[in-house]
Every structure is written in structure tokens, then in C-alpha cells.
């Protein structure tokens, strides 16, 4: 395409300006994000004040959805399950990952193999993870019950026991997440000067305290990131629940997003689901801000 315009004509100047080029470059992305990001965010907010069965015309109900949420015992239960899950999953997975990364960050025979073993679950899909753990934890034929029987422990219900199911989900998701956290920590450990690592490795008393005072500050940003990010993901737990327990047994693993999914796409309470989504969004926002404030201050005070 050759426009035969005089190079200093006004039109040519306008065409060549950064405004036009900038918008031409940004437009496809901005259009996509407006249509599938910004419009839905606003629409969802509107919807949370409506009764909407996703089929017929919605009508306004004011704050009725939010008021109903306050008095919905099923929602309260789902919040409890979600928080319990998060409070166990986040510290265990992050602290465990720090330990594993510390172990893997050294010259050791077979360390490549150990690393691979830790990383492989990262690329295993959540659905596959769920199915595999369902099999491992099968109350009748499961391998884990077989190991327990060798130890003289009676067979457990695991995912079919309302008192155990959520903890099984924790174990399963830690298995799936550990590698990701370890990769982040290994990257962070690369930034720690070698002498410091060696100092913290020297045997004898004060090993832990030297690790804590010398190496840990270097890992703070990575830790903060992992805590924030795992918390956000934990609050949005869904796939593994859907594949393994569908919220059961006896609703013991019904977490917020699963409840939201049921309300929206099984009971077609679009407005109610939108209200749940906004409450979740708000909760994530508040928790993240608190974590960043607290964690950021600790990072700041330590450097």
C-alpha cells in the first residue's frame, strides 16, 4: 500500500502521528478486554441487584441478593470451608516449598531428578490430579489405605468422610502447587550471595537462626508474592472440588466458588451468583491489601 501523499501534507502528518498509531496498535487488545473484561465487570455488578435466571428478562430487586446472602446458612458454610482450606493450605504449601527449595538448591547427586519429581505435578492438570487422588484415596481399593493397613491403621473414608474430605483436598492441592512455589523460591535463592548461603549451611549451633536472619530476608519478596498468590487461588478453589467431591460429602467441601457455580449454572440464580462473586472479589481485595501492607512493611523494615 503506497499512499502517494506529499510527505509534509497535513493528512500524512495526522496519519503518522503517535495518537493514530497508538490507538491502531492498542485497539484490538482494548476492544477484546472491554468486551470480555470491563463490560462483564460492570454487568455483573448490575446483575447482583437483579433477579436473573440467565434466560428471561431480569428485574430489579435492590439489595435483596446481598441481604439473602447474609441469612443463607449454605453460603456461611461455604465461607467457613473456604477460609479453613485457605488457612491450612497457604502456610503449609509456602513453608513446605521454602524447605524443599532450600534442599534442592545445592550440589547433590541426583538433584536434577529430585527437581523433576517436584516440578512434574505443576503441569499435571487439576482434573487429572483430582481423578488420580480419587483413586489413591479410594476407601475400598486405594493405595493409601493399603499403606495404612501395613502400619496397622484401619481403612479411612478420606474424600467420602465429611470430617476428612477437606484435608484430603488440602493434601491434593499442595501436591499440585508445591512445584510452582519451589520454582519461585529457587529463582529467589539465585539472588542470594553464595557466601551467605554457605554461612547458613555451616554445621553446628545457630544454623536455623543464621538462616532466619541472613537468608530469609532475601526470600521475603518471593514469600510475600507466594502468600498473596496462593491465598487468591485458595479462595477461588473449584476444579479439584468439582472433580472429586462435588461439594460433598454432606456439603463438607462446598467452597464459595463451587457454591457460586451451583447457584449460577445449576439453579440459574444469576443475580444471587453475581452477588456472591462480588462478595468474593471484595474479600480477596481486602485480604490482599492487608497482606501486602503487612508483608510490605516487613520487607521494608528488613532492608
Amino acid at each position: 500500500m503506497t499512499l502517494s501523499l506529499a510527505p509534509d501534507s497535513r493528512l500524512r502528518r495526522a496519519l503518522g502521528s503517535e495518537h493514530l498509531a497508538g490507538w491502531a496498535f492498542a485497539l484490538p487488545a482494548v476492544a477484546l478486554i472491554v468486551i470480555f473484561g470491563i463490560v462483564p465487570i460492570v454487568w455483573s455488578a448490575v446483575m447482583s441487584f437483579q433477579a436473573n435466571d440467565l434466560v428471561s428478562a431480569p428485574h430489579w430487586v435492590g439489595v435483596a441478593n446481598y441481604r439473602a446472602l447474609l441469612h443463607d446458612p449454605a453460603f456461611a458454610a461455604s465461607v467457613r470451608h473456604t477460609l479453613l482450606y485457605t488457612v491450612i493450605f497457604v502456610p503449609l504449601s509456602v513453608a513446605g516449598a521454602m524447605l524443599v527449595a532450600w534442599a534442592l538448591n545445592r550440589k547433590l547427586h541426583g538433584v536434577r531428578f529430585y527437581r523433576l519429581a517436584v516440578f512434574v505435578p505443576v503441569v499435571t492438570s487439576t482434573v487429572a490430579t483430582g481423578i488420580i487422588f480419587l483413586w489413591l484415596l479410594d476407601p475400598v481399593f486405594g493405595l493409601v489405605n493399603f499403606f495404612l493397613s501395613k502400619l496397622g491403621i484401619p481403612a479411612q473414608g478420606f474424600l467420602s468422610n465429611p470430617n476428612q474430605a477437606l484435608y484430603c483436598i488440602v493434601a491434593m492441592t499442595i501436591w499440585g502447587w508445591l512445584g510452582f512455589d519451589v520454582i519461585i523460591y529457587l529463582a529467589a535463592l539465585q539472588g542470594v550471595p553464595h557466601e551467605l548461603i554457605e554461612a547458613a549451611e555451616i554445621d553446628g549451633a545457630g544454623k536455623w537462626s543464621s538462616f532466619r536472619s541472613v537468608v530469609l530476608p532475601f526470600l521475603r519478596p518471593a514469600t510475600l508474592f507466594l502468600v498473596v498468590w496462593s491465598t487468591i487461588s485458595a479462595l477461588q478453589l473449584f476444579d479439584e472440588i468439582y472433580v472429586t467431591t462435588r461439594g460433598g460429602p454432606l456439603g463438607s467441601t462446598t467452597v464459595v466458588v463451587f457454591y457460586l457455580y451451583q447457584q449460577a449454572f445449576q439453579f440459574f440464580n444469576g443475580g444471587y451468583a453475581a452477588a456472591i462473586a462480588y462478595v468474593l472479589f471484595l474479600a480477596i481485595l481486602v485480604i490482599t491489601i492487608i497482606q501486602l501492607k503487612v508483608g510490605g512493611r516487613r520487607i521494608y523494615s528488613n532492608t
Partner: protein
């Protein structure tokens, strides 16, 4: 090839810095013009205005008689060598050279012919397949020049191109630049803060300070007839000694030096004496003279530099409204530098009497810094 001109060009950056103030400068076709001035004076900005990388806030820039003030760089047909060369790191030397021609849809065989010619001229034949990371500093410099010149641009812009080279290579490249210019005769604008480069390379030089043009002329002209105290101090190495003086009845007095300067009006003024305009006074020397206490002697072989003190007060070369010439230290001893015959055996602590060469004393207005010309 073409002439380039600035007509009352001003550039103010968004956050307020006035980098170029009312610059007017005409560069005829084929001239090697140097923009010289201290760091931060707006040289690079002036060059980028010609290139089209910045747009003038007001005024007009022309290339080959055509106003280009609002054209994009690619419509100006100029070429530029950047201070850090800015070679495309992912392309071979060959592709670096060819890139501009390709972008302008020059036919393939023509591209090859021109790249080959340029590489022969600059001695790059061995390097064509290499990437920039595999080249030495001097080689990168050559490639950067080749990339600019291969397009046969209307004007050739260079921004401190030698500043990243070591001293020896710098001298060598200086000669090469001169040779290339003589051969291609392209209008060239060369930015430097180094007054040696400015003196040796240019047909003419434009001295800039604080975004304003101070003086334009041939190197000899600017050296011999500096327009103001800033130019006088900036051009010449070591810089001109500046002393506060008082004039009355055709004579100016600075410390124990008294010179006859018929054209200087009565009142305060600044006397300028270049280090090379002083020599040891012979016993019956009739020239004006002053006492000099040697503090440090730097032998340079054929010449020597002596640093020391004379009676009198220094004047500052920064002639701006906020800092008049007579501010700064008010010691009654002024530090001066003198360039003398290298065969002299002088010692630190010695006091000698220096004579001032006839007709080599400059006088400047104490308020404006402008030269007072007889």
C-alpha cells in the same frame, strides 16, 4: 546532500526544561559543523531536532530548503550515529548496514552493491557476518558510521561518536572522520563537549551554552576572536585565565598588571589572557608584566604547564543573570595557568616575572561578558 538551517528554534520539554532557546544557525551544503558546549547545554537536543526525534516547540528547521519541522524522521532523509552506536544486536553487520536501504525499498542488488562499497571503504569486509556483540568498540563505531552513510543521506548527524573509545582510537577515528567527510562531502553536524575535537574536526563550530548559541565561526576565528567570556574560557586548552580589572583612561589594572587598552570604557571589566600568551620576562622587556608564584609544574615535553598564583582576583566565566562575573571567591590571589617553553627548569615555590604578549590581552564587559573589541 543539502544545507540545514535552524530558524529561531526553541525546544521546551514537557516538564519544563528549556533545552534549546531561539537557536538560529545556517549550515551550508557540505559543511562539517560542530556543535560544542558543556554537558547539558542542549547539543543533543538540537541534533535530535534535526533528526526528527524531538519536535521543536517553536521555530523552523529546514533541510535542503524544505521545512521539515513536523516531519517524522523517516521523511527527512538524514542519518545519525548515536553515542552508544545503537547497532541492532540481533542482526549481522551486513544486515545492520542493509536495514535502512531495505526499509526504503531499495532494490536488492542495489542494496548489495552499496553495502559492499561502504564495507570496502570502512574496512568492514571481514566483519560482515559478525554480530555487534562480537565487535570491538572501534569496529562498532565503524559499523555505526557505515550504517548511517550507506543510505547516502542528505545530512549526517553524529552525537559524541568518539566518547566511548580509548584515547588512541579516538585520534585515529578523528582522522578517519575527516577523510570520510572530504571524500563524501556530506553536510555533517557533529556534537561534542570536547573542544579538541571541535577545533580539529570542524569547518566551523557553534558554541552553545545553556541552550543558547554563543558564537559561530571557524575554529581559528572563534579562538582568536571569542565573542564573550564564556567562549573565551571554553575554547582553548588549558582555558583562558580571567582576571577582574578596573579600567580608567585607556588602561586596565588587574593586581600588579597594567595594560593599555584604549577601547575599554572606564569602570570594571574582565581581562583574559591565554596560558600561551605569557612568557618569562627578559630583563629589559618593555611589555606589561606581573609576578607569578609557581605552585605546580607539569612538563609536557616541548612545553610545560605551570600552575600558580598572581596578585588579583579571578573572574567567573559563567555570565548569566544569576551569577554575575564578579561573584565567587574574592581572594586577593588568583590562580592562573601558564604554558611555557619546555626547556625551562622551573621549580615549585619559585617566583618569576611573566610578560604578556603584545596584543594578546582580551577584555570583556563585566556585566554582560561580551567581548570589548578595539
Amino acid at each position: 546532500m543539502a544545507d540545514v538551517s535552524f530558524q529561531d528554534v526553541t525546544k521546551q520539554f514537557a516538564e519544563g526544561t528549556l533545552a534549546v532557546k531561539g537557536l538560529s544557525l545556517a549550515i551550508p551544503d557540505g559543511e562539517f559543523m560542530i556543535l560544542v558546549g558543556p554537558s547539558g547545554c542542549g547539543k543533543t537536543t538540537a541534533l535530535r531536532l534535526v533528526a526528527g526525534l524531538e519536535t521543536a516547540t517553536s521555530g523552523t528547521i529546514t533541510i535542503a530548503g524544505r521545512a521539515v519541522t513536523h516531519l517524522s524522521p523517516r521523511d527527512r532523509d538524514i542519518a545519525m550515529v548515536f553515542q552508544n552506536y545503537a547497532l541492532y544486536p540481533h542482526m549481522s553487520v551486513q544486515r545492520n548496514l542493509a536495514f535502512g536501504l531495505r526499509q526504503r525499498h531499495v532494490p536488492r542488488d542495489e542494496v548489495e552493491r552499496r553495502v559492499a562499497a561502504m564495507s570496502a571503504m570502512l574496512g568492514l569486509d571481514e566483519l560482515l557476518r559478525r554480530r555487534p556483540a562480537q565487535l570491538s568498540g572501534g569496529q562498532r563505531q565503524r559499523v555505526a558510521m557505515g550504517r548511517a552513510l550507506v543510505r547516502e543521506p542528505k545530512a549526517f548527524l553524529l552525537d559524541e561518536p568518539l566518547s566511548n573509545l580509548d584515547a588512541k582510537l579516538r585520534v585515529q577515528m578523528r582522522a578517519e572522520l575527516k577523510r570520510i567527510h572530504q571524500r563524501l562531502n556530506i553536510t555533517t553536524i557533529y556534537v561534542t563537549h570536547d573542544q579538541v575535537e571541535a577545533m580539529t574536526l570542524g569547518d566551523r563550530l557553534a558554541v552553545i551554552s545553556g541552550g543558547e548559541l554563543q558564537q559561530v565561526g571557524t575554529p581559528q576565528d572563534v579562538y582568536e576572536h571569542p565573542a564573550n567570556v564564556f567562549v573565551a574560557h571554553f575554547i582553548g586548552s588549558p582555558p583562558m585565565n580571567l582576571l577582574r580589572a578596573t579600567a580608567s583612561a585607556g588602561r586596565a589594572q588587574a593586581g600588579d598588571l597594567s595594560v593599555e587598552l584604549a577601547h575599554v570604557p572606564d569602570g570594571p571589566c574582565v581581562l583574559g589572557i591565554r596560558p600561551e600568551s605569557l612568557s618569562l620576562m627578559a630583563p629589559d622587556d618593555p611589555r606589561p608584566s606581573l609576578d607569578f608564584d609557581i605552585e605546580v609544574v607539569e612538563p609536557l615535553g616541548g612545553e610545560l604547564l605551570a600552575h600558580g598564583f598572581v596578585n588579583g582576583r579571578l573572574a567567573s566565566p559563567d555570565a548569566s543573570e544569576e551569577t554575575p562575573l564578579f561573584t565567587g571567591d574574592s581572594e586577593s590571589r588568583a590562580e592562573v595557568t601558564v604554558k611555557l617553553d619546555g626547556r625551562l627548569r622551573l621549580k615549585a615555590g619559585e617566583r618569576v616575572r611573566l610578560a604578556v604578549h603584545a596584543g594578546e590581552v582580551y577584555a570583556f564587559d563585566a556585566a554582560s561578558g561580551a567581548a570589548l573589541i578595539g
